[in-house]
Amino acid sequence: MKKYTVINTPVHNIDGIAKVTGQAMYTFDIKLPHMLYGKILRSPHPHAKILKINTRKAKRLTGVKAVVTGKDTLGIKQGIWRRYKELCDEEILARSKVRYIGEPVAAVAAVDEDTAEEALDFIEVEYEILPAVFDPLEAIKEGAPRVHEHAERNINVTRHIEWGDIDEGFKKADYIREDWFRVSTQAHVCMETHNAVASYTPEGKLTVWTSTQSHYYIKVLLADILGLKENDIRVISRYTGGGFGSKFELDSAQFCSSLLSMKLCRPVKIVLMRDEEFMATKRRTPMFYYLRTGVKKDGKFLAKEARVYTEGGAYTSMGATALYLTGFFQTFPYTWPSYRYDGYRVYTNTEPSSAMRGFGAPQATFTAETQIDLIADELGIDPIEIRRKNGMYPGYEVPGQARIQSCGLSQCLDKIEEWIKSRGKLPPNRGIGVAAYGFMSGGIFNWFDTPYAFSSALIQVNIDGKVDLFVGSQDMGQGSNTTLSMICAEELGVRLEDIRLHMGDTDTCPVDLGAWGSRETLMQGNAVKMAAADVKRQILEFAAAKLGPNIVYDLDIKDRWVHLIARPERGLPYYDVVKEAIRGKNGQPLMGRGHYTPHRKGMISPAYSFGVQAVEAEVDTETGKITLKNCVTAHDCGQVINPLGVEGQLEGAMAMAAGYGFTEDLPMDEGKILNPNLVDYKVLRATEMPETKIIEVETYEPEGPFGAKEAGEGLTNPTAGALGNAIYHAAGISIKNLPISAEKVLIALREKKEKGKIKKSGN
């Protein structure tokens, strides 16, 4: 019999028909009887005291039903790092002070959107403008304006990672280099903006439909900030139109619509406009990066010192995690005998920076991989060879941090090397750049302070053999609904169409922490597998009774066939066994439970994905314009569960990461984002996307369901670095300041021409 009958086969996404027919109902589409529409008034100042807010005129406008301000809240400062109260610093609806342009100060509910928006003009806010600070390197100086009273020199969080003796390492080094980088911010640009429909009823229950990556987190955070019991709140999110890290924290749409609804006992819908989405949600953490690296002349890595200052923006948000992960993934995927990282997250009067796909690792990978190519070039070593020489391998332990079990890095390097060779001699002004990465499959941290297992699953098998699978995970497009159904079907031994997935409703689904940090396949997947195994065991008990085999024989189910493993022709149809099993269980459906929480899995994650990406790019030396020609990625996500899903994730990650590399940025002037729209903010379109080739390197990860690991976020890590390296090899210039715009390329080309030699280092 085939090893697997369901996983690793190309299947239709189980939400596919709903999506291609337009039937899928997103929060954006929800319309309830008696519903009102809300709009939010936002601060025009980056830093100011709120002296007075007069809402009388707005309230009197025909069609306006309620206006709320910070005074209508419990004054709770919330944050997603709930375990660390000092990091819970965001009121969302500001009470006495605003700290970034766009921070909410009031919200209106009215009979239609236009009336709500008009009412905003009638709210009078008196501000006392305070001096503001925008650059973290300025904010950290003595005497800089204080964004938060408690944070001296605006230092929000610090992180330190260290192993080995880097001073010894540098002493032994034949070659040492220092580089400074500035890696930029990025906007998530989910196609569905942040939104919520909140409905509070006289029973004292609040229901919130919202576009989210974690309905569980939103439920708990709303309970905290509204003073309600967790389970008097129901959060529903069947379809989410993109997340990418922007939608697992509590946002202004969710909070303000809830406040208004609680006041009126009517549903209130708030949908953020695209400019609000750019200015007043969260964004990728920009960083100032210093790397000092020492290697032996044969390319062996000895010591690395990293120092990072991140532009935190006005609140902690998820920025503390990004600060840690950038320091951790700075060493991936290589073995460093010694390493020291010091990271500082600095408050500034700008939009808070937080989590975005890759979570600090794309920033780390860009800097690390850029420097590695420069080192390789100096030492006359081939870029693949230097990576091979220092690459992680199965069984490697990152001292005090992580144990690498499955690791297909060296096979990935081999495959990419093969492809590069096959390209032969490239036309002029073209280059191929390579970047290697590793990434986590879900984090072990519980800064959220949940008492629950990180993932849980419930299964119920019915008389017709259909399997109800209840999960807490969220599909935001990454395909977890399909992947988890496949895992369930494979483990239980049935077909994908036998699974009925239930998700997206905190009233009926078990707890899962949400779709972030690439945790769903491994963590929710393990919980699902456990629940399926539980129910299978019960089915097999009945089958054993029915078949009466010799005790030495084991049974299994494959493709709806319950059979003896050693004698697969001897068995019973799954449907028949189920019918009798339910009778034997007092007429109760067969039920299974599963859960997963990583215990003793190191400091970061139970398992790591790996990969190597090569980008072929062309530079127009007349204008500096970059064109992507080819992109090949060899990656190791353990056992592939959902191949169409993996392919889609890889290509999508590449497009997003390429944007990070050369087209996307949020330039600001005194804290004001200058391009908060999709005309001036440039995401890649179909015409900029190159042909992509994907090479699967299969490994088996013991920590993951069927050996699977993540495959959606890690793939965002390498592209900016690979692109930068491609430009380096194409034109001999190394740009250390993202994004690599055409103008920067042109200036670098001109400088190179004047200098007459390849740039070695610079800011």
């Binding site: 959107e113 236009d114 928006e117 008009e118 007349e622 204008t623 314009k625 050369f662 087209t663 330039p667 200058l674 391009n675 001036d680 440039k682 890649l684 379109r685 015409t687 900029e688 715009s741 055409a742 103008e743 042109l746």
Partner: protein, 292 residues
């Protein structure tokens, strides 16, 4: 947000002109609305009366006669121009320009008249039609008039359209013999509005070396699509060679009055003007030589 307005549908040009005469500056014309609606939705433009001429078939035409040249009605869509075999044959640079303009959706509904009347110096049609020596015909209730397209653009988003006037036709003379026109814009995302753009027209003599006439028009490099007249002067009557083209391009970049924004600095824009002008001069010269 968009303000309410009184909607007036014009079924004939006469009706449109009557409305314009009646409501004057309280009114605005909408045709494809691909630029106007975006401004109206943000509350930046809020006319009391909106005169809809989208379905004015009277102004939806592409005509050509060898003496008079090309006549395009103002409500002709970009897509119609793009797909016109007549235009591909006689004014291929217009098809090139349209193919790279915005998106298919925009071109399906947006019109050439609407584009020119919007007065955006970064718009694609302006520089190309000026390089082709186009003339626009406008009309009010009393009379019609024509003026060179070059004089139609006055300032940022400001045209020579007077109160009560409607743009009704674009006239393009037949391209003179041994003349080729090339156009290109610089962008990072294909079809995006140019960071800068350059249209260049070169007329050569029978040898193909001497330049009889040159027209160089810069887009997104000044408050209006700008003729780089000094640069043209350097070429007229001269024997062309790469060095001369390079120097003319340098002059064009000096004539540019670019602004800085999130996409580029002034300096980079000037640099791009030079690079694009060099490229377009070379391209149009090459193509003109083939016509000898």
């Amino acid at each position: 947000m968009m303000q309410d307005f009184i909607y007036l549908r014009a079924n004939t040009v006469k009706e449109a002109l009557d409305f314009l005469e009646q409501y004057k500056d309280d009114s605005k014309i909408i045709c494809g609305g691909q630029s106007l609606l975006i401004l109206m939705r943000q509350g930046l433009v809020s006319p009391k009366y909106l005169i809809d001429i989208k379905h004015l078939e009277e102004l939806n035409y592409i005509k050509f006669a060898s003496q008079e040249g090309l006549k395009i009605g103002a409500t002709t869509t970009h897509r119609a121009l793009e797909k016109s075999s007549l235009i591909k044959k006689r004014y291929p640079v217009l098809v090139d320009m349209e193919k790279n303009l915005a998106s298919i959706q925009t071109r399906n509904w947006g019109t050439i008249g609407g584009n020119l009347a919007h007065g955006d110096p970064a718009g694609d049609p302006g520089p190309v039609f000026i390089a082709l020596n186009a003339v626009v015909k406008t009309a009010n209730k009393e009379r019609e008039r024509t003026l060179p397209l070059e004089e139609f653009f006055i300032d940022f988003f400001e045209t020579a359209l007077e109160e009560g006037e409607l743009l009704i036709e674009i006239q393009v003379p037949a391209i003179p013999p041994k003349t080729a026109v090339a156009y290109e814009k610089f962008n990072i995302i294909k079809n995006d509005q140019g960071v800068v753009s350059v249209a260049a027209s070169i007329t050569v003599d029978d040898s193909g070396i001497k330049c009889k006439d040159a027209r160089i028009v810069l887009g997104a490099a000044a408050p209006i699509p700008k003729r780089a007249k000094e640069s043209e002067q350097m070429l007229r009557g001269q024997k062309l060679n790469d060095r001369l083209l390079d120097r003319a391009a340098e002059k064009a970049s000096e004539e540019a009055e670019p602004f800085a924004d999130v996409h580029a600095t002034e300096e980079y824009r000037k640099f791009l003007v030079k690079a694009l002008t060099t490229k377009m001069l070379k391209k149009s010269w090459e193509q003109a030589k083939k016509l000898i």
